[in-house]
């Protein structure tokens, strides 16, 4: 028995060195499918730029980037093309949950690794989890659950909830309600892509809520915050970081000042490597990194850390190497739960003005070692 396993180990070692010797084995081909055009392009561009920054100068990585135009059918086509004709080993890059749901299950079924730099739909964290799927960002509910916890600790009693009427919006509010112990005095689900919130603001003004908690990504959040500032309503505003990301804050301007938002990262987070990341990103691209850029950066770091330990052709060893998450995340401590989703701290940030730049600053920890509730359903 012992001899057998020894022989097996020797064979594997030989196979490993042979692979390295032929000049291809150590290299990893990465297919990045992300959103580079359309209204959601800002997120994809940040993920891509963060990833490429970490991969810069690394000759072992061969990266192909393609634009999914935020359309599930195009993302599926790109994934097929990358796997079949480009022969990529690892896929990454998808921003949106609906695209992830269309692509990830088929990618992992074809035996390829998928590292999610953004989307974290609950189905892939629970019943649909896969040994080859790793989420480096968050499960979708994480920021909301942390928001509820922070509200409990900080004396917020009456909350008005608002989100777009689509799965991620409803899941987000459900996540908040899962941890929030106060009273929800109103709940509104708006049309996806709605740009005028006068009616909702009037409802919020008329309610006796002390805080409005909302999730409106992209342009919807910009519109809401500008109109909120013009309405003169004085209530606290809270939300997940998606509505107050660096790419959006410039367009909202002073209207966003004082807003509280939960995130796993902030540019002023005092952990090793983060300040260097922020500086390197600014030097390379001439703008402040967003949390999406941080996620892209961490995704590349994770991949590089696993490549140092195992060959991607050996799926079991590479999976084990990814599971170790042996890299210095710009979020500080980072590890994977059994369902390959992060265990990480989530912070409360506040929008402030530094000189002329509107940006975020950490005001406290909202949740420590946070992980999702779906892992219990995950059987790998």
């Amino acid at each position: 028995m012992k001899i057998k396993s020894l022989v097996a180990a020797a064979c594997m070692a030989l196979a490993g060195s042979a692979a390295l010797a032929d000049g291809h084995g150590g290299k990893v081909k990465v297919g990045m499918i992300t959103t580079l055009s359309g209204g959601g392009a800002g997120l994809g561009i940040d993920v891509r730029d963060g990833f490429l920054l970490a991969a810069k100068g690394n000759e072992m990585l061969d990266i192909v980037v393609e634009d999914d135009q935020q359309k599930p059918d195009i993302a599926v086509q790109l994934a097929d093309k990358m796997i079949q004709s480009e022969k990529v080993d690892v896929l990454t890059g998808i921003i949106w949950s609906n695209l992830a749901m269309a692509v990830v299950p088929s990618v992992t079924a074809q035996g390829k690794f998928y590292l999610s730099p953004n989307a974290g739909p609950s189905a892939l964290a629970g019943k649909g989890c896969s040994p080859l799927y790793f989420n480096v960002a968050w499960q979708n509910d994480a920021f909301y659950e942390a928001g509820g916890l922070w509200a409990n600790e900080n004396g917020i009693g009456k909350v008005f909830l608002m989100a777009p009427n689509y799965p991620a919006g409803i899941d987000g509010m459900t996540g908040f309600k899962r941890t929030f112990e106060g009273e929800v005095v109103g709940e509104v689900y708006t049309k996806l892509g709605q740009t005028d919130y006068a009616a909702e603001i009037a409802q919020i003004r008329a309610s006796d809520a002390d805080t409005v908690y909302f999730f409106l990504p992209g342009g919807m959040g910009i519109s809401f915050m500008k109109q909120w500032a013009g309405s003169g309503v004085e209530k606290n505003v809270m939300g997940p970081a998606f509505s107050f990301d660096q790419g959006i804050l410039g367009a909202i301007g002073d209207a966003a000042l004082g807003v509280k938002n939960t995130a796993h990262w902030s540019k002023d987070l005092d952990v090793p490597g983060n300040a260097d990341f922020v500086k390197a990103f600014q030097d390379e691209y001439g703008r402040l990194p967003s949390l999406y850029a941080a996620q892209g950066y961490d995704t590349a770091l994770l991949l590089i850390s696993a490549m140092a330990k195992a060959d991607v052709k050996d799926a079991a060893a590479f999976q084990a190497a990814l599971e170790e998450a042996d890299f210095q995340s710009v979020r500080g401590k980072f590890s994977f739960a059994a369902n390959h989703h992060p265990i990480q701290d989530i912070y409360m940030r506040e929008v402030v003005k530094e000189g002329d730049v509107v940006t975020n600053q950490i005001v406290g920890v909202a949740a420590t070692d946070h992980t999702d509730v779906y892992g219990a359903d995950c059987k790998m």
């Binding site: 009427n165 509104v188 049309k191 740009t195 006068a198 009616a199 910009i222 013009g230 309405s231 410039g250």
Partner: protein, 305 residues
């Protein structure tokens, strides 16, 4: 719901209707006079907003920004009419849809190339940034009141233009019989360029006015374009009066539906399913309105059979 809140919501509906009117007026004029379906109308709206944001960024003046929006959209309108649209008048609607859809893609990617993928900053002037107190104690954002006033003034101006000026007579004549006014010696291609530029300028102004309270980003015009089409179908294609009535109907239905339907379902349902069903039905409300109008008036409220 208190009467004050209801009045406030009616004002919100009016304001969104007036903005829709600025979009729909150009669209309906262009369709009525030239028989052209212009999908790129939303791009002109976007051009107005981006021009305003850029000029406001350079000069800090909101008035200049509005002027720039008008000028940029009118100029873009002139150029695309002369370069592309002119070749489409004799083609069928499918060719027009295809060509103007291509224009959307060109303008969207061109704007992204010039301004980048991140939304631009454009804010209301400081003097108008707060709310005003209306009679009855309603607090209402002063900028939105300004939008209502500007929109109404433009509506009046447009009616005067159509009813009382020489160019208005030519436009009306063009709507009824295109060949005939050409035969009567009116320079039809100049008239078409003017009408197109006028429609474009109105869309650009709407984009700039709305851009100050919404997000100035690539692709901002398309959702409004869909609503504007709903408006002109309800109002009757080619009718300015129809565009005004249709826009106000759509604005009010959209706003009040979103507020009242969840409340209505809340009377006999638990709150969370009332919210879900109410919001879902509210998103459909304007399309239901359109279907009903078409059922009883197939050519729209003021359309000619």
């Amino acid at each position: 719901m208190t009467p004050i809140l209801l009045i406030e919501q009616v004002l919100n509906g009016l304001q969104s209707g007036i903005m829709l009117f600025l979009m729909a007026a150009g669209l309906t004029l262009i369709f009525g006079v030239m028989g052209l379906i212009n999908l790129a109308h939303g791009s002109l709206y976007m051009i107005g907003a981006f021009a305003a944001a850029a000029v406001a960024g350079w000069t800090g003046s909101f008035t200049l920004a509005l002027a720039a929006a008008l000028a940029a959209a009118a100029l873009a309108g002139c150029i695309i009419e002369m370069v592309v649209i002119r070749r489409l008048y004799d083609r069928d609607h499918l060719d027009q849809v295809l060509a103007t859809f291509a224009l959307i893609l060109i303008f969207s990617e061109g704007t992204r190339w010039l301004f980048g993928s991140f939304p631009l900053y454009l804010d209301v002037p400081a003097a108008l940034s707060g709310p005003v107190r209306l009679p009855g104690g309603i607090l209402y954002p002063s900028y939105r009141l300004l939008i209502i006033v500007i929109g109404l003034l433009i509506a009046i101006g447009l009616f005067q233009l159509i009813a009382r000026t020489r160019i208005g007579i030519q436009i009306r004549a063009g709507e009824s019989d295109r060949e005939m006014i050409g035969a009567l010696g009116v320079d039809i291609s100049r008239l078409y360029t003017i009408v197109f530029a006028l429609g474009a300028a109105l869309a650009g102004l709407a984009g700039a006015l709305v851009g100050a309270i919404q997000s100035v980003q690539v692709g901002m015009g398309e959702p409004v374009l869909i609503l504007a089409f709903v408006v002109i179908v309800i109002g009757g294609i080619g009718s300015i009066k129809g565009a005004l009535v249709g826009a106000l109907l759509v604005g009010l239905t959209d706003t009040l539906g979103g507020v009242l339907l969840p409340l209505f379902f809340g009377l006999f349902m638990d709150p969370s399913s009332a919210t879900t069903i109410g919001s879902a039905l509210a998103s459909m409300s304007i399309y239901i309105l359109m279907a009903l109008v078409l059922l009883f008036r197939p050519t729209g409220l003021y359309g000619r059979a």
